[in-house]
């Protein structure tokens, strides 16, 4: 093969595979001495659907929150798009967070506000504070809110109050809110833990679609091994803050996963 072409192809391949997030020897010890994370060292390539499994308290949520600096690490460094997140401060930290959408177990919508206001609130980091406070969103962004709601099939509820919706509907609105950020990464912390099996599938399917159609990197914390196997490209397992498992989905076996959930 032509040597130049080979170099070019390798370069293109590496760019495709360049990690969007990397953990470099990340540890976290809480002020009371509890170990949250212990020497976590792995990378997540762009566009991956990564599922993190592990028992409650194994450090899944903490790991996820070190990516958008909702939690600080005590040692090591997290890189997002090759930039150390610890370097961000104030406004630049907010623009980092804007690139990273987050979805929660309890949806975390503002219950007393309308669906529309909840969705628009995902856009506030694009506006100066006074405009956000006055609710002066552009016509384009209002259109965008409708479009986001359409993507999760919730546009007919746009004027409903968030607390009038069912759990599954609330989670879909939360995803629409996240889409307003134009994120490159979506972090979902136990997104289906408070949902029934049917709505679970709806929400997971939406996340998978965002991963495949928009090329978003999606990281999901899950308890359910079956769901992990069904949706993930790759599964990592945590136990007591340590990375004890890391395999692409093709190499994952049932026995492996059961081992992660065993007591030490």
């Amino acid at each position: 093969m032509d040597e130049h072409l080979a170099t070019f192809l390798r370069g293109a391949y590496e760019m495709e595979q360049a990690p969007i997030i990397s953990f470099k020897h990340v540890s976290k010890v809480y002020s009371n001495g509890t170990v949250g994370l212990k020497d976590i060292d792995f990378s997540i390539p762009k566009g991956q659907f990564l599922v993190v499994v592990g028992l409650s308290g194994s450090g899944k949520s903490t790991l996820m929150r070190t990516i958008n600096r909702m939690h600080e690490v005590t040692e090591g460094e997290v890189y997002v798009e090759n930039e150390a997140v610890s370097a961000y401060k104030g406004r630049s930290l907010r623009t980092l967070r804007r690139r990273i959408g987050m979805i929660f177990q309890n949806f975390n919508l503002i219950n007393r506000s309308s669906v529309e206001k909840n969705v628009l609130s995902g856009r506030v980091s694009y506006y100066p504070t006074w405009k956000s406070v006055m609710g002066l969103f552009s016509a384009e962004d209002k259109q965008k809110a409708v479009a986001s709601l359409n993507r999760v099939n919730m546009s007919e509820k746009i004027y409903a109050r968030a607390d009038e919706l069912s759990g599954g509907q609330q989670q879909r609105v939360a995803i629409a809110r996240t889409l307003m950020q134009d994120p490159k990464i979506i972090l979902a912390d136990e997104p289906i833990a408070s949902l029934d099996p049917l709505t679970t599938k709806t929400v997971m399917d939406i996340l998978k679609r965002l991963n495949q159609e928009d090329g978003l990197t999606v990281i999901v914390n899950l308890h359910s091994v079956e769901l992990a196997r069904e949706y993930a490209d790759r599964i990592v397992g945590l136990r007591a803050g340590e990375l004890v498992y890391d395999e692409p989905i093709s190499a994952v076996t049932e026995a492996d996963l059961n081992k992660i959930y065993q007591a030490i």
Binding site: N68, F104, L109, S121, V133
Partner: protein, 264 residues
């Protein structure tokens, strides 16, 4: 009817030693403090006839006095509304700074709470006396007194409400990349607005009652007339003033109860 599986209660639990002990201690303290402060319950009963005498004298209300006190009654309500509103406006930022779940800086919060405690320590009668001395007799002194009194009370009620809110929406807004003020506006205020209004109305009720007493010190409103009629032994007029005040307080109570029910 004994169940062999249950653990045996210790004799302290069986004989309710703690409950009986605390009750006995409270009774002893009550008796002790009435002895030490020379409170004579007997005197209350032996002087009941004077009380009855006063009631008899007031049982003949001078209804034509009503036209005189309409204006000062309105002034009393206006004083209360103004004072409560001014106090509330200043209370909101102080309440936000005093809330432990919003402000993590212990010194800032501690200083803020110290200021609030100091303000609350000042009795409203003392404030009224001071401001009458500064601004002269009239409703200005009354409004300022009520404003400071409302400020102390509302800021404490408000920050205690803020500390009970659901932190989920705040976390979501933080992850979106919102600034502090935007987070407060979007995630805090909708959660507490109804309780804020409810406490505002509650304070307004208290202030309407309080301003009748403040008038006694020359701080404007209906209290001035109350004091005058008592000094002149014009018990018929006193009766009218008291009855009219009761009606006003009842009406305001009714309105605010209704609004609170609708809002909560």
């Amino acid at each position: 009817m004994t169940n062999a599986n249950l653990p045996r209660r210790s004799w302290v639990q069986r004989w309710h030693v703690k409950g009986i002990g605390w009750t006995a201690l409270m009774v002893l303290l009550l008796i002790g403090s009435s002895k030490m402060t020379d409170v004579n319950v007997g005197m209350f009963f032996s002087n009941l006839d004077q009380f009855a005498d006063l009631i008899v004298r007031m049982s003949n209300p001078a209804w034509d006095y009503l036209s005189v006190i309409i204006q000062p009654l309105i002034e009393t309500i206006q004083m209360a509304i103004l004072g409560t509103t001014i106090g509330t406006v200043f209370a909101i930022p102080f309440a936000l700074l005093a809330a432990g779940n919003l402000v993590h800086n212990k010194f800032l919060r501690g200083f803020d709470r110290l200021v609030l405690d100091l303000v609350r320590t000042l009795p409203d009668l003392l404030l009224a006396a001071i401001f009458v001395a500064i601004f002269g007799i009239g409703s200005t002194a009354g409004v300022i007194t009520l404003a400071i009194f409302s400020f102390g009370m509302i800021s404490k009620l408000f920050y205690e409400v803020i500390e009970t809110i659901d932190m989920g929406p705040l976390e979501a807004m933080e992850s979106v990349g919102a600034s502090k003020i935007t987070i407060i506006w979007y995630a805090v205020l909708p959660q507490i607005m109804n309780q804020f209004v409810s406490y505002f109305l509650y304070t307004l009720e208290i202030n309407v009652r309080a301003s009748t007493v403040l008038g006694y010190l020359g701080a404007g409103g209906i209290g001035v007339y109350l004091q005058r009629s008592l000094n002149e032994f014009n018990y018929g007029a006193t009766a009218v003033i008291i009855l009219a005040t009761i009606v006003v307080v009842l009406i305001i109570d009714g309105i605010s109860n209704h609004l609170r029910r609708v809002l909560l």
